[in-house]
Point group: C2
């Protein structure tokens, strides 16, 4: 019978073997009291199993409140626990409750982070994965051999649909591939969802008619289920190609329902993610997180960016991109969304460390505030990526490309 295996990074005042056993007990059958004639069989079949315990460092200050250590020592370890697929079958919320449910409440742990999961082969049949993924998003935007270049419209909240559409027009004219709503904007007092779709798709459709290129716009449909479905339909009817969902805020059941429609590329915004991963000994690592959302079927997923303005280290960003590059069943690859403080200067380092152009590379000021205008801003980003692929440094790229050299002058100071 297929099993699902989870790897946790733990800290515990107990012997890690014992702590692992507590976790396995809590997250499966609980106490096995006698059920006539079946106890051992039940246990074999449904109990979670500790597969491996790898002791790591011992520390004297616990990472989080929990049971006190009698000798002042807290042991860190990597543990692997597995469950039979028979326990939950194909049910992502119950899988989530199994992998990351009450176990975080256990006083036996002063640190607990879900690092990775191994999902069974049969998930490939049950779950279709991204309807578009890298390949589909490239086809929709007609971008080959370089990252999709994207941007977000600022101010994030406050513009009317007409003002937003005016910016979209400028950006489309500048050669942008992708534009997105802010995650804080879905339908606001002066930018109703439909009003925004109407105004923007008019511009995008006209641009597509004129040039053959349809800019992908990620409209933020995040909301309640019926509302999301109605908005989704409205985008489809209006000729749009993408919908954005704040996956943590909407939740797994809602996101899965949206992905299942399979008519639009789903831009998965992970806002709230910092809460889940920022502490080194609490929550979830991106390796595990991205697998759950790939099963759900998102097409694009945020990974932050090299030299970002947030807390995340470059190593962590690179690991996230590599996680998304790792093949997952025969599913389409998910497009990593690189953003936060990006202006093109990070392209060489991003490419050097990930060796891929299968990215959605988002820049804000790098485009709109380019000294030679937005069109030059887009060109500069394309140049940055060409230079990156050619193995040039930022300095070499600046020497070679006029528009990019202006970016370096404008944004390269910090």
């Amino acid at each position: 019978m297929e099993r699902i295996t989870a790897t946790y990074y733990i800290e515990t005042p107990l012997d890690p073997e014992k702590a692992a056993a507590v976790l396995a007990g809590e997250q499966s059958s609980g106490t096995f009291i006698a059920v006539p004639g079946e106890t051992e069989e039940l246990k074999q079949r449904f109990a979670a199993r500790v597969e491996k315990v790898t002791p790591l460092e011992t520390v004297t200050t616990p990472a989080m409140p929990g049971a006190a250590s009698p000798n002042g020592q807290y042991h860190r370890a990597e543990i692997q626990v597995s469950w039979s697929i028979e326990n939950f079958g194909y049910n992502l919320p119950v899988l989530t409750s199994t992998l990351q449910g009450n176990l975080y409440e256990l006083r036996q742990f002063t640190g607990l982070k879900l690092m990775d999961i191994e999902l069974p082969a049969s998930y490939a049949q049950h779950y279709k994965g991204p309807a578009f993924g890298v390949k589909g998003c490239r086809q929709l935007t007609k971008v080959e051999n370089r990252p999709l270049i994207g941007t977000i419209i600022k101010p994030s909240i406050g513009l009317t649909p007409e003002q937003t559409a005016e910016m979209v027009k400028t950006l489309a004219g500048a050669g942008i591939d992708f534009i997105k709503d802010d995650e804080l904007l879905s339908s606001s007092a002066n930018s109703s969802f439909k009003g925004r779709v109407d105004a923007i798709m008019k511009v995008i459709n006209a641009h597509a008619d004129a040039t053959g290129k349809k800019v992908m716009y990620a409209f933020n449909i995040s909301g309640e289920i019926d509302e999301m479905l109605q908005r989704y339909e409205y985008i489809v009817k209006s000729g749009g190609t993408c919908a954005m969902v704040s996956i943590n805020s909407v939740g797994m059941a809602g996101v899965k329902k949206i992905c299942d429609q399979r008519q639009l590329a789903i831009h998965a915004h992970r806002n709230g993610w910092g809460m889940q991963t920022r502490h080194p000994l609490l929550g979830i690592d991106f390796r595990a997180y991205q697998k759950l959302w790939r099963v759900a079927g998102v097409d694009q997923l945020h990974v932050n960016g090299i030299q970002n303005k947030f807390w995340e280290s470059d190593d962590s960003v690179v690991a996230s991109i590599k996680a998304l590059q790792t093949p997952f069943y025969d599913h389409e690859s998910v497009l990593p969304v690189v953003s936060s403080g990006q202006w093109g200067g990070q392209a060489p380092e991003t490419y050097r460390r990930t060796n891929t152009v299968d990215l959605l590379y988002m820049a804000g000021g790098g485009i709109m505030a380019h000294p030679m205008g937005a069109a030059a801003g887009v060109v500069a980003l394309q140049q940055a990526w060409q230079a990156a692929v050619d193995g040039l440094s930022v300095e070499q790229a600046a020497a070679k490309y006029k528009e990019f050299s202006e970016s370096v002058r404008q944004f390269g100071k910090k």
Copy 2:
């Protein structure tokens, strides 16, 4: 115009006033670039506003990775930030992204916890709150003037529907008010959802026909949207009164959709909650958390219990119960679900500190492992609560009540 106010507990290497301004900027309009003629008006209308900054202690070790302090000092503070309802209107996922989205990514914070939120008056018109709540759950179970006594069937996973129904029969005969599925069990290889509903509701309906009392059984419907709705309908058709949802795993959009059906009491299981709250300087406090789920319309919500087996302190449990006791619009009150290591011995302390019997009091071993049998176990719990209300101590209650005294002998050692 109505505003929503959030209170955060923060830690920052910056002046807290400055950090608060960064948060407000990130979580609303972002950078305001010049939009002809409207910049100041836009700002007034849509920018988040720092309402209050209360400096607290300063520490020299940051709680989490973030920006380093040049002088080695990290300042803690309580800050209040507000948003106009115009930014999102009535959209719980976007509200969530606003209150607890990208702000956790900000390097300017080495600690950030959402402590409380104030929601606008108009939410009372838009959101109906619990369809049943305390009053409705009491009516459905015909329990007055004492907590509902509940239990969970063990082993959590592994029993067949028939074995489960057999236990339900025993428990119903013992006078139990409420029984629930484990959160890890929805539909497993040897307990299909429908099979379990069929077997259990046959017992519960027969018991109700014979005695006039219908035991409330919380079937775990957690799953994808369509699946949850089908399971919900099946419970309704079968004469059930309650459905359980793992709220964090299903997510806000899915839970709201289920609550909106308003035919069954919704038992909200908060597994995964430890991840969101366990670190003192990361995540969300229950005060804020419970408000979001009350808006969504859950009827029962877990709060852990006094002297529980998990990490949570008694003070934290009491604060959670009090949060749920706090009136919220004209909504029905949510029934706090007290569980984890409860056997009745905690009733006097629970009552002394919360002064309420509007609780769903869950005991496992305290019922099934009672020396005189399950019926005596249920009676012992009722006695414990009568004693609690009468102001008796555990010792005094044991002297007065036979069944409870046996509980003390059996479970009172640890």
